[in-house]
Structures are given as structure tokens and as C-alpha cells.
Amino acid sequence: MSKVLLKLENLTMKFGGVTALNEVNLEIHEGEILALIGPNGAGKTTVFNVITGVYQATSGSVTFDGHNLAGRKRFQITGLGVARTFQNIRLFGDMTTLENVITATDVHKKSGLVGALFGTPRARREEKENRAKAHEILQFIGIDEYADRLAKNLPYGVQRRLEIARAMGTSPKLLLLDEPAAGFNPQEKVELAATIKKVRDAGYTVLLIEHDMSLIMGISDRVAVLDFGTKIADDSPAVVQNDPRVIEAYLGVPADAS
């Protein structure tokens, strides 16, 4: 098996008396698509929030690429190579599609305010690189034709794709996708599945939260299931699909057993 990129060890997250995550262990290997599923309120987005530094874990650790992420600032974690999308779209609406991605590509650039003010050669070069890279990503995702449109005016499906493109702008090793297919029709879901596979084949590792079983079963290498903050299964899609505990969590106790 290839190297472990992200490792959650005994991760617990408590909000007052509510335990959102309880001793969760999870490993994600380089180059795989791992799907994180579970009923509403199972703690999937909380996992994302702990990884990206939005929340500090109550106990347990998150190790990414050899770095312990505890106590790091959010933008530093992004700089290390973790990028995410949002379940409820949070693009910069008053910026164009291209500017949204360029803002993300800035994370690895050295020039700051002084360089920008005096137009130093490095600042000029980095601006050019940013622009080229952003166009490249938009082409890769297939939305380059919208490059100069304001993000808030884009069609819904394009906004969802732009979320992915913007996250890719930070040149991440690990891409966290939070329900990228929410609100999509079956045709759009098929296209999205192809895009996610393409992203993985381009060398990214993908951790995916999704509800749509057919999408998950089609593209993921492994599926982890959360229920009330506890991991109840972690295996290949085919095995997870037939796991009685997973079926119970999703559908309740089967009729013939009750």
C-alpha cells in the first residue's frame, strides 16, 4: 500500500456536552479516493473542520504528511497542502471565476504588499504564473469559458465546480470535497464523478463527503462510515454496502429482524 498521507488518531471533538466525534481513527493513502459517509449529523463535516483547523480537536491527533496539524493556523494548514470545498457554496461572489482561483494560488507565492506596490520583478512574474495556473485549472475542470464572469452570477453547477477549482488553486496534496454533488441531477452527477476521477488521476488524493450512494460506489477506492461520531465501517465499497451495521445506520433495523 502506498504511503499514508493523512492520519486521524483517536480523534475526539466535543462541543459542550455533545460529542461530535468519538475516538475516530482514519487513514488516507496517497492517490486514493476515500469516501466519508454517514447519516445527517454523523460528524462528517466536523472531520473536515478539525482537519482544516476550523476547530481544535478535544483530544487525539491529526497528522498530515508527517506534520502534526494541532495548533496550526488555517492558512498554514492550507499551505501544507490541504484544501477543501464547502457544503454550502462559499465562493467570493464579487470576484470573477479567475480571480477566485488566483486568490487561492497566492498561498505559495512569496511576494507581498511591498512587492505589489513597487511592481518588483518577482511580483510581476508571480502574477503571471498565477494567471496561467488559474487558467490551467479552469480548463482542467472544464469551466474556463466562465473565467471572466462574476462568481455570484454563475450557474449553480459551475459554482460547485469552481469550488473544486479554487481548492485546487492552492496546489493541495489532499483535496477535501464536502458534498460536491449536492443539488445535482443524475446527469451532472455522472459528469462530476468523471471529474473527481480525473482529479485523482492527476495526482491529487481525495477525501469525499457524499450522500449519493451510486456516485460513491462508482468512484471511491474505500468507504468510511460515521454514525453519531463513531466510525462503524471502513472498507471497500462492496463490503461496506453489505455491512449490516451500515445498513442499520442508514435504513434503520431491517424489517425481517424486527
Binding site: T52, F75, G79, A83, F92, M95, T103, D106, R149, L150
Partner: protein, 342 residues
Amino acid sequence: MKNFNLRDFGAGIWERSNRYQRIAIVLLVITLAALLPFAGASFLATPVAAYDAVLVYPVAIFVLMSLGLNIVVGKSGMLDLGYVAFFAIGAYTNGLLSMHTGLNTWEIMPIGIGAAMFAGVLLGIPTLRLRGDYLAIVTLGFGEIIRIVALNVSWTNGPNGISGIQMPPPILGKEFALDDQKLFFWVVLVMILLTIWMIRRLTVRRPGRAWEAIRQDEDAAELMGVPTLKYKIWSFTLGAAIGGAAGVLYAAKNLFISPEMFTLNVSILILACVVFGGIGNIWGVILGGAILGYLPDRIRFISDARLLVFGLVLVVVMNFRPDGLLPRKKREKALIKKGANA
């Protein structure tokens, strides 16, 4: 007139022009602005105060301060109600150094800007973790603290203020004079042009994007790798620097400063200039600062009623143009060419 939009009209002319036409436009606008002090005999004349003095303060100084505050409020979306603090720091730096040392206005200028920036960083580091209303309250407090300190400590002469500030030394052999403020206006105009240049440079590059992202969604910005605190402090500090520069110039023009000149009213009035003109749009902000600086003096002939009229104008205009006279530029077409002059 139905679909006429001054902002788009202006931007349209700019986009259709080539490089040489643009240089011509810029030179023309600068020349017209520089000729403003000679228009004193026209309908622009102010009835009571001297016209060229009004052009320096309030008009030009207000424009300068509005541009500075716009970086903080308009570009990066932080509500600062204590902007007068930096104005006061600049003015008092000039007053104190002028009183105790032999430095002239131009030598004091960088020190005044530095002092205001230092105060900006000092206030920014602990407080810029706050957002929205909370930040507004803290900055409001800071503005009052500076004024109350100036009012109560002995080394600022307390309520008596500092008088006898040195007149700036001559520039190119031309003397500054109290009864002819043209030269002073041109000095402030140069400061304004420098500020515009700086803001435009920053806006099209990384800092502008970072500020814009912070303004729209600070959490998302940080998760996309924008070091938000750093850019917020930069924004605050640059705003402070411009406020400080305005303060140094104000003290040099007025030759006397006292704490009652630096009340909360000034902060609010400058904020009004920014909002009235068009928050986030530098041309709107310039227009706002110029109009709100000029209007009270132009209608001084109605004496006591003038503040009422002034208030009415504000209310009426803001009702019809809630985004300001020239709203924030965000048209898709203009942005396509933005890369060309970046």
C-alpha cells in the same frame, strides 16, 4: 437619462482608450484639479471662508482621509469608527516636533506617518481578531482615548493646544502664505495622487485580492490560504499612514491644533464621505470627500440652517443612491481587460 450611469460611462471611456489617450486623460484631469484654486471667482466661490483655504481644508484633506479610510472600510470591510485617532497622531507629531525641534514640515512628514503606522499596528494586532460591530466599538474607543490623552496630559498643553507650528519651508522658491493657499493645495494634491497610485497598484495584485476575499468571506479566505490577520493589519496600517499624513498637513496648514479638533465627529464625517461617495470605489470616495468637504462652506450664507441642509442632502442622496454616488465597480466586462494594465 434612464440608463445613464456615470460610473460605467467613465469606465467605458477609459476602456476604449489606448495607452496615449489614457495618459492624456490622466494629465488633463490632474491639470484641471491643479487649476481648481484659480476658479475662486466663479460660482464655486465660498461666501464667507476664503475659497483657496477651503480647498485645502476641508476639501483636499477630506479627500485624502477618505481615500485612507476607504482602504480599511471599503477594500477590506473593517468598520473603523476611530479613524480620527491617526489624524490626531499625525497632527500632534507635527505640533510637538515643530515646538521642540528645528525640523520642518517635510522632515516631520515621514515621522508623522511612521507614528500613525506604529499606532495602527499596535492597535491592530490585538483588535483585528474582532469583526464587525465589535471592531467598530474598539476603534471608536481608541479614537476617544487619543483625544482624551491629548486633552489631559501636560506635554500636549492639554485643552490649550499647540500654537506656533512652523509654516512649511518654501518649495522651488515659492513661499507658503496664509492669504494664498494655492501652493498648499498643490502639496495635498500630490499626496492624493500618490495615494491613488498606491491604492491602484495594490488593488490589482495580491493584497487587493486578499482584502477583497477577506471582505467577502473571511473564513473562506483563510481556508484558501490567505493570511487574514497579516493583510488586515496591513490594511489598517496603510489607512493609518494616510490619516497620519493628513494630520501632519492639517497641522502645517492650520498652525494651531487642540484636542477639540479631533472628536468623534471627524471620524463619522470621513466615514460619511466614504459611504456617500461610494464605498470601495476610489473615484466615488474622492467625489464624496470633495462634496461633503465643500458643501458646508458653499452654503454658509444660510448660516444656522446650513447643517440642517447638509443633513438633508445626505439623507436624500443616500435614499436615492444607497450604494453611494459612484458604487463599487464590479462589471464583468471591465474585468476582462484588467490583466492588461496590471
